[in-house]
């Protein structure tokens, strides 16, 4: 390396190292409370640093609410939780304009902000609310602003939504339409903990001394990290790899693997590739790397594509999991052409 290039390189190197360190601290802090679920924690952090939203799928009681709360504590951000129920109204989410009596005893309208005006929002069991309520929440999530009457209220930055949904087909649930699912960067599937983890959970939650979660980074640092993550350069051939995986989800594409053509009705939109690339960048940085690797792409692709692949009738009938399909597509796509 030539000497004049040393200085900027040093700063980049320092930033990368700082990023890796901070991300690691967040993870560690969250890990104080949450037993196991490393992939979920990593995924959530990646999506958060990538500036997206995440959908967690899992049965109740697996610590999803706990994860979100812990995260908000670790980041020193405010947090709100919306429990979605069939009778939940959009105003319950975004807020409502109410008449209030002021100091001067004059009555005037005032917009009472809903729970969505928060840095981290937990939309718990989002599929239990009516579509109307769901779309209100998802619209706010997408627009990062709320419009009530003539007033538009910008949401906080950072703004991060974690929606959870119950995979069980229960009465009175309203599954999220595909168009809505596309708005989540990742869909993470929370798995049931194994025996060791269960022991640990028992130890941590049923004893007197509860672990204490402290904020490890502030809001400003979080925003800086988000920005820095976007600077990571991606080599053309790596991006190419991601795009070829995306193409593999399209049954009409000539290079698509057999399983795609057999079970997939629609492949992922380019949003899927966007999700892969943004989260892969974060992943590279969290590992202290200066470049996005094919491995980053592969890892992100699994989480970014599983809810973007829509099965055809045959796929539904045979109960093929989209996870399997995405896995096969990744396996079928060579790193280099």
């Amino acid at each position: 390396m030539s000497s004049e290039n040393t200085a900027p390189d040093a700063s980049v190197q320092a930033k990368v190292q700082a990023f890796q360190k901070d991300a690691g601290r967040i993870r560690e802090e969250v890990g104080k409370m949450i037993v196991g679920q490393r992939d979920i924690i990593n995924g959530v952090i990646q999506v958060m640093l990538a500036g997206g939203n995440v959908l967690l799928e899992g049965v109740p009681g697996l610590g999803k609410t706990m994860l979100v709360r812990t995260l908000s504590e670790a980041l020193g951000l405010n947090f709100s939780r919306i429990q979605f129920t069939p009778d939940l109204m959009p105003t319950d989410i975004v807020g409502a304009t109410i008449i209030v009596e002021g100091e001067d005893r004059q009555k005037h309208f005032k917009f009472e902000r809903g729970p969505i005006f928060s840095n981290i929002v937990l939309a718990d069991e989002v599929n239990r609310a009516t579509p109307k309520t769901q779309s209100a929440m998802l619209e706010a999530m997408q627009e990062r602003s709320v419009t009530v009457g003539k007033e538009t209220y910008k949401l906080d930055d950072p703004f991060f939504v974690l929606a959870t949904q119950n995979p069980l087909e229960m009465e009175g649930t309203y599954p999220l339409p595909e168009a809505q699912l596309d708005r989540f960067l990742f869909k993470l599937v929370v798995k049931f903990p194994d025996l060791d983890e269960l022991h640990s959970i028992m130890e941590r939650t049923t004893q007197v001394s509860q672990p204490e979660v402290n904020p490890v980074i502030d809001k400003a640092r979080l925003l800086e990290m988000k920005r820095f993550a976007r600077e990571v350069p991606v080599a053309r051939h790596v991006q190419d790899y991601a795009l070829r995986i995306l193409q593999g989800t399209h049954p009409e594409h000539p290079g698509a693997p057999e399983i795609t053509r057999k079970y997939v009705r629609f492949g992922s939109s380019p949003r899927g590739a966007q999700a892969i690339m943004t989260t892969a960048r974060v992943r590279a940085l969290t590992e202290g790397r200066f470049n996005v690797s094919s491995e980053d792409v592969r890892r992100s692709a699994q989480n970014a594509l599983r809810h973007r692949v829509i099965l055809n009738f045959e796929g539904e009938a045979e109960g093929v999991s989209t996870d399997t399909i995405v896995q096969k597509i990744i396996e079928a796509t060579p790193e280099s052409t």
Binding site: V12, S294, S336
Partner: protein, 696 residues
């Protein structure tokens, strides 16, 4: 993938060097791989080349082309492998994967080739490159890209084995001897008996030709014999056989026509000249009876007699000498004759002139040709045709052998005349000094006579030569007839060589052999006499059969054919109808009408041919005689012997009457039963009439 650009100069030289080395390594690896593939191809081609060399398709001195071509092919394949574009990114990715470098090297290369646009990105890219460099020391190219055995070494080995195998395995030489060509064997269309008979007859004809045969006749016989050989070897089909015979006949006809024309011209010219001479010089000729005889014979187209008469004249002059007056007279006559012969050419010339004049006059008379009436045109055409005929005749005469002969004859005559004139003069002059002269010339005189007679003889020879032509034509006529018969017997043949037929063929052959072996025992003059007696005509002792008048020959030959039958060993009972037909037909052939081969009479073939062939020569008569004798020795009096006896003792014995009755009834039966053509019925009936027993 991004196009391969020149690497960023900022990229660490170490990385660049590494990539260069890596590229060389990949290239050489590829070169080896494609060289191996090329070697497979080269070996396969070599196998072909070796096979071609060993089978002489390629000149063995060009052996070096095979290894050269193989070598060139391998080098070309290696070069192609080396020259193929190398994707540096792809090989960098390979290193990344191998060392688990998370695309550090490949990204560094990629970013160096297409650096980010913004400053932050560029800084990041530099940091990335620096990061990548820190991993260089752990990269060992030999380990990352181990030397790979070319994938198709097994194939290579197989190809090598094939090539070696082709070199070892015995291969046929394409220039080696070819298998013998397929021999066409036609169906036999003629049985052995017929063949043997035909052969025998040809042999007899050959003998009849004598020591100095007509070359054309001999050639014909050769051709016929060859055809028979081919028929026996079955290398010729029946159709071809018949076509060949026809071809020979056609050739012969053409030749005959020419000869006949020559002869005609010659004898006509001679006859004209002789007639003129006879009428103009009747008085002078009356005093020269020998010459008159010659001239008369010439006038009658009898060249042989004329020749004889001239010879007699020459002899008499030589013996008796000649008076001056006679010499002068003879000279005058001969000169006149010679002039007349020479005038022939002029006469033809005049004829042409005359025709031409007539034609011109005619044309003048008619005036413009455009105004001719149809009649006039026809007249003109006729005249023109006459003219061209006359011209042709003259031309033919000019180029003909006849003219040559005439010229020679005329020259000889002139020389004789000159000698005579000299003699006559000498005698007149020598009145006073006759003694002295006589004495002086005593020794010369016989010489002079010899000279004159020699010239005379020359002239006579010219004439007899022409006469000979006539006789050779007759010979050919015989052969032609034989050929026709052969053709007919061949076209009739079934070719089914049944056991019966084979046996018969053997018998006939056996018979022929014996007949030839004993041929001297027969006196033909005796036979001729017998014939003459039966016919009530004077026999011509020693004469050739051909020279006999037709009627006599007919009878004689008919007899011969009949007499032969007893000689048939074992097969002595061919139905008489067949025999009779043949024997009779034999006689008729001289008239040129009858084709004995066409006879449908059963069992007629073998004996028919035999009778035919033998009838022309004395040889056969002898043969028959001997055969008949052989029979006599072995057993009692057979029917054949009776018939033979009848031919010698006359058709009057009681036994002969019986045999005759038998045979005739069989013949009649056959004629009723079989479809015998009417023409043949006549001959068969006539034959039986001729051999009808006579009242003792």
């Amino acid at each position: 993938m991004a196009p391969t650009l020149s690497p960023d100069p900022n990229l660490a030289p170490a990385l660049l060097k590494l990539l260069d080395r890596l590229e060389r390594r990949v290239r050489s690896q590829r070169a080896v791989a494609s060289a191996a593939a090329g070697a497979c191809l080269a070996l396969m081609l070599s196998a072909v080349g070796v096979a071609a060399l060993r089978t002489q398709w390629i000149d063995p001195t060009l052996w070096w082309t095979v290894p050269l071509a193989a070598g060139l092919l391998i080098v070309a394949a290696a070069l192609w492998g080396w020259r193929r574009a190398v994707d540096r990114i792809a090989i960098a990715q390979h290193i990344d994967r191998h060392y688990d470098l998370h695309d550090r090297i490949s990204t560094a290369l990629s970013l160096a080739m297409s650096p980010p646009q913004d400053a932050a990105g560029q800084a990041f890219a530099r940091a990335q490159a620096a990061d990548a460099l820190t991993y260089l020391d752990r990269i060992d190219l030999r380990e990352a890209t181990p030397w790979q055995r070319p994938a198709d070494t097994t194939l290579l080995a197989a190809c090598a084995l094939v090539t070696i195998g082709v070199g070892i395995v015995p291969l046929p030489d394409h220039r080696g001897t070819l298998p013998p060509p397929f021999e066409v064997r036609y169906e036999a269309f003629v049985d052995d008996a017929t063949l043997a008979l035909e052969r025998d007859r040809i042999a007899a004809l050959r003998e009849a030709l004598g020591d100095d045969p007509d070359p054309q006749a001999e050639a014909m016989l050769d051709a016929m014999e060859e055809l028979l050989d081919r028929a026996e070897a079955r290398t010729i089909s029946q159709r071809e056989f018949l076509e060949e015979i026809e071809k020979i006949e056609t050739q012969l006809d053409a030749a005959d026509e020419v000869i006949a024309q020559e002869l005609e011209t010659l004898s006509r010219t001679l006859a004209d000249a002789a007639q003129e001479l006879a009428s103009e010089n009747a008085e002078a000729l009356a005093e020269e009876p020998a010459l008159k005889e010659a001239i008369d014979a010439l006038a009658n187209n009898d060249l042989a007699t004329a020749s004889e008469a001239l010879e007699t004249l020459a002899e008499s002059i030589q013996e008796e000498g000649i008076s001056p007056e006679r010499a002068e007279r003879l000279a005058e006559l001969l000169e006149t004759f010679s002039d007349k012969l020479n005038a022939e050419d002029e006469r033809l010339q005049d004829l042409v002139e005359k025709h031409r004049d007539a034609l011109e006059k005619l044309a003048e008379q008619f005036g413009d040709e455009g105004n001719l009436t149809e009649e006039q045109q026809a007249l003109l055409d006729e005249a023109e045709e006459m003219l061209s005929n006359a011209e042709n005749a003259r031309e033919e005469f000019d180029t003909s052998e006849a003219k040559n002969q005439l010229e020679r004859l005329s020259r000889d005559l002139d020389e004789v005349v000159n000698e005579y004139l000299a003699e006559a003069k000498g005698s007149e002059d020598g009145d006073e000094g006759i003694a002295g002269q006589a004495e002086e010339n005593r020794g010369d005189r016989p010489d002079y006579r010899n000279e004159v007679s020699r010239k005379m003889e020359d002239a006579s020879e010219q004439l007899s030569e022409a006469g000979e032509q006539q006789s050779s034509q007759q010979q050919r006529e015989e052969i032609r007839r034989q050929m026709q018969e052969m053709r007919e017997s061949m076209s009739r043949g079934t070719g089914e060589a049944s056991e019966e037929e084979q046996r018969r063929g053997d018998q006939v052959e056996d018979f022929m052999e014996r007949a030839r072996g004993e041929s001297e025992a027969r006196d033909d003059a005796q036979l001729d006499q017998e014939r003459a007696q039966q016919q009530g005509e004077p026999g011509e002792a020693g004469q050739d059969g051909e020279q006999k008048p037709g009627a006599e020959a007919e009878q004689a030959q008919g007899e011969e054919g009949e007499a032969q039958n007893p000689g048939q060993p074992g097969g002595g009972e061919p139905p008489p109808g067949g025999e009779g037909g043949q024997a009779n037909s034999e006689g008729e052939t001289n008239d040129g009408e009858y084709r004995p081969g066409e006879s449908d009479a059963p069992g007629g073939d073998g004996p028919d041919e035999q009778a035919q062939g033998s009838g022309e020569t004395e040889l056969d008569g002898e043969r028959v005689q001997e055969q008949a004798q052989g029979q006599e020795n072995s057993s009692g009096k057979s029917r054949a012997e009776i018939i033979r006896g009848a031919s010698e003792e006359g058709f009057a014995s009681a036994e002969y009457q019986e045999v005759y009755a038998d045979y005739e009834s069989v013949a009649e039966e056959v004629m009723e039963r079989e479809n015998v053509p009417d023409g043949y019925r006549f001959f068969i009936k006539r034959y039986f009439q001729l051999i009808r027993p006579q009242q003792p």
